[in-house]
Symmetry: C2
Subunit: 348 residues, 2 copies
DNA sequence: TTGTAGGCGTTATCAA
DNA sequence: TTGATAACGCCTACAA
């Protein structure tokens, strides 16, 4: 009983004694109809329970309003947060999102891109990092990447350099004797590398004693713990009695670091200060709320869609993008919580 | 230069001197062509750089292979984890996912559903909880819900009742003197309610002293903290000197609870045992890895898609679903970590 | 094994 | 302000 054929413009047209064209106009250009006729059609639509078929519309006008998204995964807070924001832009921009998770397998991700292209996406948002931007640039679609290597394509990134500076500044303001930055080995081509540079250069230009510790982090929780345990032991002895300001590469690591301190010392030792990066859930849910350099995911998402939209419009008007790729930069925001303490501001 | 019209079957047909039909067959029924001709076409496709257009195919054969997903949000670990798994099923099932985040606004979510319908999704996966299953059942698409009210539609849920029992059993095995369950007020119609029942009935049938504490949790992190602080104060005095086995409604709350204990007592007190629910990241990233009742998100996701697929096949063959909705149940898995300790098993 | 012709449900282009 | 007609790119009988 249910499976009666869906109602089409044709049905509405016959029912109202208009033509299909007029029905179409009712949706796309209502002002061109008399209010009278608008009502007639509106009622017919209800009476026949018409449901739009956007697939047919796509075929006819070529506009899918689809945007493809290529994520590495959704386990990391940062990715799910930003996906959340991106999907939220539907309200403002109206794009529908086809989402794929590539798990960092390049061959798989290339297949996904082909599939997305087959559905005539109008733009592609790439957060996964396996496919070089050089390849992405050759796709026949506007591409915007977020926080990844972006030499050949448009992108939106956090100002990681500034973030590194902010972290160093935060720690410096806490009267730390020495500033430490712990990170994993990373390529200068990826935005996150800027955190290291920002940190180092801030320290240098302000004459602050500092050390950058590079370890193969982010492999597994277990390994990370072991590595950080060693780091803590090292810091405890190497900088004994000195106030250590530690800037961890991200909140997850900062949280692990904090937990290890708690387990070793039973508390957050007075000679430590800690700053993370991202403002992910972990940072506010940890034993002690962790001070962090927050990425403004809402702005990143909005900027990405806007940038994509610009490109989509350009690529329709003109032939190909002539000028180089645009790289948009969003400043991070330092959030002081309970793992850093600024000296009381002077009053009066 | 770039914007030359895309190559179509027609172009390939002319180029190879076949008909469009043959080209179509090359994709959908290749065995019906001679290997010879297959090669010819294959080469033509490459030479002309053909790219599939699945939109046209949809219009022609009616199969979008789209599945719509309605999420409440992606902030909670559970949701992003499960979305991750759902998207991962593409490899096995081939469905493409159009994802919307409703933020629990019913009117908004209804709009999203209409939009999804307009794109002729073949099935709908609902994790958000604002729209009653009665409404969902009236949509013209197969629907499967996950962990929410599901009276009128097919669903996949964790066996929450069993989970509640497992939690109680875990705590009982730790020689707790009294078992506590902390939860927010919830309706018996939602799956999560089963946790309470499972816990209570296990305690009753085993003659275990217990108490269920219902508080308006999950409003904001700040409020939750305050409420849990009060709960701890209450427990500390009401059950002083007794070993308290606490089963929290979920890992986030368990984590907050653990953090508060740490802040109050400087450690995880010996007279406490703690079990969470979900096996979300928080539970393993907390100061002390939290024992928890783990939801098997991979199985839930797979079951959901399978169930959806079954319905989609049925709804094509027959008219409408005659028998009642199917409710699939996935057992949770207790994970013993560092907030519970079983007595050493006897050796030899 | 291959081809012909019609259809899927819209929009676009003319014309009236 | 409205209509007729031809796309859009593919699939599917049916025919050969």
């Amino acid at each position: 009983m249910k499976k009666s054929k869906p109602v089409t413009f044709d049905d509405i047209a016959k029912y109202t004694h208009f033509s299909k064209t007029t029905i179409s106009r009712y949706f796309n250009n209502p002002e061109s109809l008399t209010p009278q006729n608008q009502k007639i059609i509106a009622e017919a639509l209800k009476k026949l329970d018409y449901r739009a078929n956007k697939v047919a519309r796509i075929l006819a006008n070529g506009k899918t309003e689809f945007i493809g998204i290529l994520m590495p995964d959704l386990y990391h807070h940062f990715f799910s947060r930003i996906l959340n924001e991106i999907l939220g832009t539907y309200e403002e921009f109206g794009y529908k999102f086809l989402v794929f998770v590539g798990n960092s397998k390049e061959e798989v991700e290339r297949r996904y891109i082909q599939e997305l292209l087959a559905y005539r996406i109008e733009g592609l948002l790439v957060l996964s990092h396996t496919i070089p931007s050089e390849s992405l640039a050759q796709l026949q679609v506007p591409v915007v990447t977020i926080e990844r290597e972006d030499a050949q394509v448009c992108s939106v990134n956090t100002d990681n350099y500034l973030g590194g500076q902010q972290a160093a500044a935060l720690l410096a303001d806490c009267q730390c004797d020495v500033l430490i930055h712990v990170n994993s080995p990373s390529d200068p081509s990826i935005p996150a590398y800027g955190r290291i540079r920002g940190f180092e250069e801030y320290c240098q230009s302000h004459g602050l004693p500092h050390e950058v510790i590079i370890r193969q982090l982010d492999s597994s929780q277990h390994c990370d713990q072991q590595l950080l345990r060693e780091v803590i032991d090292y810091l405890d002895t190497a900088y004994q009695g000195r106030k250590k300001g530690v800037f961890m590469a991200n909140d997850t690591l900062a949280n692990t670091f904090l937990n290890l301190l708690f387990r070793k010392h039973g508390c957050f030792p007075a000679d430590y200060q800690l700053v993370g990066f991202d403002n992910s859930l972990t940072s506010s849910e940890s034993v002690l709320p962790i001070s962090t350099i927050g990425q403004q995911v809402d702005q990143i998402a909005a900027a990405a869609i806007t940038l994509l939209q610009q490109q989509m419009q350009e690529s329709k008007k003109k032939k190909g993008a002539t000028q180089g790729p645009i790289h948009q930069i969003i400043p991070p925001v330092p959030l002081e919580r309970q793992t850093t303490c600024r000296p009381e501001p002077k009053k009066g």
